[in-house]
């Protein structure tokens, strides 16, 4: 029925099977749609956020998907600027994942702010000293860059490619993609950093506050590094999942190995700096505020186990797995390493968002707990549904994996 839209020389499932596959994701989107409507119409009282938990599950999701979506800019940087040509085979997938992550995050932020209609005030009445203003500027601009990077791929659709003007436009865009890759790298560097900076500058919250270099707290640099360590791992995971679901080899192993190796090195470097930062914080910021390290973990479920999990199980272990060639060449270990790596970064964003706010600062203040409502989960999960849907549609109708045809020759 829709086979005329498929890329040439590749096999796709029947429309019926495809529709069945998209159903759960459509359900997630419907759940998210209802939740978004309620939050916009009735207000944020539909959530379980309060004046203690000003940021909650949505911000954790935002930060997590933005970090995981860093694979887009970083793979572009490695391909076009560093010259790792083998990554061209996975670059389209990285761009789509990045686009999904960033557009999803911005949509979520639009619901998260109390006055969505005034969102543009960030640009109009900008406070240049605010890290959040920098984040907003850079992610908005970068979403534009991602759209430009995504556009040539859309124009490569078999039917669109027949239109001469569109084909020429797409080819010309391809030709100047290095410029956009560089722009994307610049913008991403600043917004990944500013997301970390957002917490690091909260000097009246000793749990989050970090010293730093000039106006940038150490979290600025740590967030960049952790994002470029986890982003490629997430790209590997998504592509491997696509390979498992389609039961095809979509990307040559060399591309996976290059990304995994780079991810491993970056994660190892991040771990060294993260541990240094943590020790520096324990002996610097914390005692100056009159606190001891364990004071932050006296109450509530967010114990010191989170530190052990983040740095040990989900930090050092995946770094070792991805650094050892024999381990990362084994598919099971590669996936395990990437999964642990990505989980570690999600824990890091969770700790900075939720635990920072859960820890009381005034000695007579109380620890307050928080659990999201179904509306909050609905909007967060809708991003996952949207991601699966957009990636599936892209895979079905666009030549996402340039080597797919070569790696999976049709029998007839």
């Amino acid at each position: 029925m829709d086979s005329a839209l498929f890329p040439e020389g590749v096999k796709r499932c029947s429309p019926k099977v495809f529709l069945l596959w998209t159903l759960p994701w459509l359900c997630l989107l419907a759940w998210g749609g209802l939740s978004a409507f309620l939050c916009l119409y009735k207000g944020l009282n539909q959530t379980n956020m309060n004046d203690y938990f000003a940021f909650a599950v949505w911000i954790v999701f935002d930060l997590a998907v933005i970090a995981l979506g860093a694979g887009a800019f970083f793979t572009g940087f490695l391909t076009y600027i560093i010259g790792k040509k083998e990554l061209k085979d996975i670059l389209n997938a990285a761009v789509i994942i990045g686009f999904i992550c960033y557009s999803g995050a911005i949509a979520m932020l639009g619901i998260d702010i109390g006055q969505p209609i005034r969102g543009w005030f960030i640009f109009w009445h900008v406070n240049v000293h605010s890290m959040l203003a920098e984040v907003s500027f850079c992610i908005t601009c970068y979403l534009g860059v991602l759209a430009i990077e995504y556009l040539p791929l859309i124009l490569e659709n078999r039917q669109l490619d027949k239109v001469k003007e569109l084909r020429l436009f797409g080819h010309n865009l391809h030709g100047i993609m290095a410029v956009f890759a560089a722009t994307g790298t610049f913008l991403s560097f600043f917004h990944q950093g500013s997301l970390g900076g957002m917490y690091g500058v909260m000097y009246a919250r000793p749990f989050a506050f970090r010293e730093g270099f000039y106006i940038w707290p150490w979290t600025f640099f740590l967030f960049i590094l952790s994002a470029i360590a986890a982003g490629p791992a997430f790209t590997i995971l998504c592509t491997k999942l696509a390979e498992k679901i389609t039961r095809k080899k979509l990307v040559p192993e060399k591309a996976f190995q290059t990304l995994a190796k780079i991810s491993g090195w970056l994660l190892a470097l991040y771990m060294v700096l993260k541990i240094t930062d943590t020790v520096n914080w324990i002996y610097g910021v914390v005692p100056r505020a009159g606190l001891a390290f364990m004071d932050f973990y006296r109450e509530g479920p967010y114990g010191v186990w989170l530190v052990v999990a983040e740095i040990g199980i989900f930090g050092i272990i995946p770094a070792i797995i991805l650094l050892v060639p024999k381990a990362r060449q084994h598919e099971g270990w590669l996936i395990t390493g990437c999964l642990l790596n990505c989980t570690g970064i999600v824990i890091n964003r969770f700790v900075f968002t939720v635990v920072s706010l859960a820890v009381p600062v005034m000695p007579f203040d109380k620890f307050v707990s928080y659990l999201p409502t179904w509306q909050e989960w609905g909007i967060a999960f809708a991003v996952i549904g949207y991601g699966f849907l957009l990636f599936s549609l892209s895979y079905r109708y666009l030549p996402v994996f340039p080597r797919e045809r070569e790696l999976n020759p049709l029998s007839e």
């Binding site: 944020l44 009282n45 109390g114 005030f121 900008v126 009246a204």
Partner: protein
């Protein structure tokens, strides 16, 4: 420096905790003065809008040695590099260097709540619901025309009754004065406190009582170590109360030896 027009004022508050009985009049006066909306059910205190909040603290000892103290907590009106002003992406909160008061521009606030996250005093509250003033209960009759009510989705906080400053200035200008006398501008909580525990004035003006009070050996501020430089000071002769105002490592807190005067 040019005299007058409020140049160089730094309005501040001194709350004598030894006098505070915890009656809550300051909270009520503040809510009435500043058009604070209420909910039919106000049991969820984590979403309750309160500009002035009372914290009850005890010395943790068993009866009959138990002692209780109340910390009335307005916005601390932090100075210079305030935790909230620097983080607001849309410049919806500003510190006025002429008065030292941290303002909140409700019509500019986008409701991102970054300021709430950055404030360690929980002095900022978010409007989770549309403003609501129950009809037929008398509440609508004392809504102040001087204070704009807040809409859903924005952050609000104590403004040191900024409209009272405007009113006092207008009166002074009408009398062709540029300087305000002590007591001409005081906040609603200061005025209402039956124990006269709250003193309000210009911290920079040596003729104002507050500038003397803050020099007391018993004066302290909340979370002073963090460097937020609050303009709200507290007084207490009790060591355990002063100990409650900040975090201290073992052995770090220095009690004030009770020396008999005279």
């Amino acid at each position: 420096m040019e005299k007058g027009h409020g140049h160089g004022n730094s309005y501040g508050m001194v709350i004598d905790l030894d006098k505070c009985t915890g009656c809550g009049t300051c909270m009520v006066a503040c809510a009435a003065e500043n058009n604070l909306a209420v909910r039919p059910d106000e049991s969820d205190k984590q979403r309750s809008i309160t500009w002035m909040r009372l914290y009850k603290v005890t010395n943790g000892k068993e009866f009959p040695h138990t002692e209780v103290c109340y910390f009335p907590r307005p916005c601390m009106q932090c100075d210079h590099h305030t935790p909230c002003v620097s983080v607001c992406p849309a410049t919806a909160t500003k510190m006025d260097y002429h008065t030292g008061i941290v303002s909140q521009i409700y019509t500019r606030c986008i409701g991102c709540r970054y300021c709430i996250a950055a404030c360690p005093y929980h002095a900022r509250t978010f409007n989770w619901w549309d403003a609501y003033f129950p009809k037929g209960k008398g509440l609508e009759r004392y809504l102040s025309p001087e204070v704009s009510p807040r809409m859903r989705g924005v952050v609000e906080k104590c403004t040191f009754c900024h409209h009272r400053l405007m009113r006092a200035k207008n009166n002074a200008y009408a009398e062709e004065r540029r300087e305000l006398e002590e007591g001409e501008y005081i906040t609603a909580c200061t005025e209402a406190c039956p124990a006269q525990a709250i003193t309000f004035g210009d911290l920079k003006n040596p003729e104002h009582k507050v500038s003397e009070l803050v020099k007391s050996r018993y004066a302290f501020r909340l979370l002073e170590k963090l460097g937020t430089e609050p303009k709200v000071y507290y007084l207490s002769t009790k060591d355990w109360v002063r100990r409650m105002a900040d975090n201290y490592l073992p052995g770090e807190f220095k009690p004030i030896a009770k020396v008999k005067l005279g």
